[in-house]
Symmetry: C2
Amino acid sequence: MQIIATTLTNRAPTPVCRAPIAPALQTSGQRVAQLLALIDKELPVLRRVVHAGEAVYRAGDAFECLYIVHAGLFKTVSVCADGREQMVSLHFKGDWLGFDGMADSTFGCDAIAMDIGEVWVIRYQALLERCSRAPDLMVAMHSAMSRAMARDRDSMLAVCTLSADARVADFLRNWASSLEQRGLRTDRITLRMTRAEIGNFLGMTLETVSRALSRLARDRIIGFSQKGRRDIEIPDIAALGAFVDRSLAASLH
Amino acid sequence: MQIIATTLTNRAPTPVCRAPIAPALQTSGQRVAQLLALIDKELPVLRRVVHAGEAVYRAGDAFECLYIVHAGLFKTVSVCADGREQMVSLHFKGDWLGFDGMADSTFGCDAIAMDIGEVWVIRYQALLERCSRAPDLMVAMHSAMSRAMARDRDSMLAVCTLSADARVADFLRNWASSLEQRGLRTDRITLRMTRAEIGNFLGMTLETVSRALSRLARDRIIGFSQKGRRDIEIPDIAALGAFVDRSLAASLH
DNA sequence: CGGCTGGTTGAGGCATCTCAAACGCAGTGG
DNA sequence: CCACTGCGTTTGAGATGCCTCAACCAGCCG
């Protein structure tokens, strides 16, 4: 069994699949900034600080608000009746949270802060009203949903077509790419997740994640920083991509 | 490697994950009928018949319209640069097609008819304008997107947590459940896909699909009809669910 | 009939899981 | 300062589920 590889959010070049796609008219960084400015202009937003481990919302909560990540890193987790959990997605600055509650007025999963962060709270009713007057806003929201679906699609693809090592590499590449699009440094990323969490996200066991990371480090595609094995150095993002492509090509003979 | 299990569309009870969710205020069948009535009332729709194998749109096409399935069965397929394909989702009557194009004005995957069918074509611009005046319509559209995301989430979960046999069972159960919600007979379904397509969708090889189906038939959970191995009899949908739960429980010791 | 496509089934191999042991690090309490 | 504990990580060895390769069968069509 495996899972979808990776798939963070808002990366401009789709990771595994590269269908012919028109070049974006704006960079992701610009898009995020414009979105936040637009929201701020059009809507009354409540800023809410969320501490590590704290939930923005939980499965079963009544859906009334959407959220936009303004700082920090968030995950959404499907919680099953038997207690098992499946991490579904990661959300960086500019990503929306809560779309999954719109269908039946109840959230279908938990949204958890992985670090201290801040979300902007937007009442759905207010958003609907505002969307009626501001087509820009509606289009921005639709774009965000569309992008979330594309991300899920890529995850599916990665889980279905990549080996364990390649999924881990793809995961790191997407993470770095998300940081890059937001103008942050990408040569050194701090995973705020345990191996078990990564494995859950990527559909593999924690041992397999650990081994994959060790192999990537042995091949000098990544490095571990002195302090702890949770900080990962990525000298060259392109090398990660090349690794993914290589193992992809290898698997097709 | 595998892929996300299953996940058809619009099933009321989520398949693998059963988070506490408030009971739907209306049945899925009612929702579909109401959606179609709403669209028909509010918007100028163009009806387009699509033949088996024909594309509603293809990756790279300019995004201008959304589509609602009115008859038939459709799949969306991610096409990679190297020619590999990954089936991403199945769409029955009442499901929308084309959300993936909203983000960057270009479709990111192909939407293909698996059978002769009909879609309603809705110009996105017209939809935006109409949404501004008809909040019902906007909410219906958001619900559909939200449901699509929930479906992807469930797929992810199934691919990540279910064995090959269970994924096939889950796939059949979701298919039957989709039919049931539309008031169609569920004791006998005709798969309009080859084993290879099913395997691609579920993230496994065609041989594994074939073996899984054989095992399910041996255990009397499904049956093959006389004519061809493509018609499958499902005497009891609940038995499929029980099988999934059983193998789920088995995998946790 | 012969070719082709799709399906089934078997045998063997390999990637990943499972189980297990050991290590590093942080916190706690003596 | 030093056990001592607990958690996260690494690494190894063995088990296994799924993939790969291959043969064969059934239906369809020229």
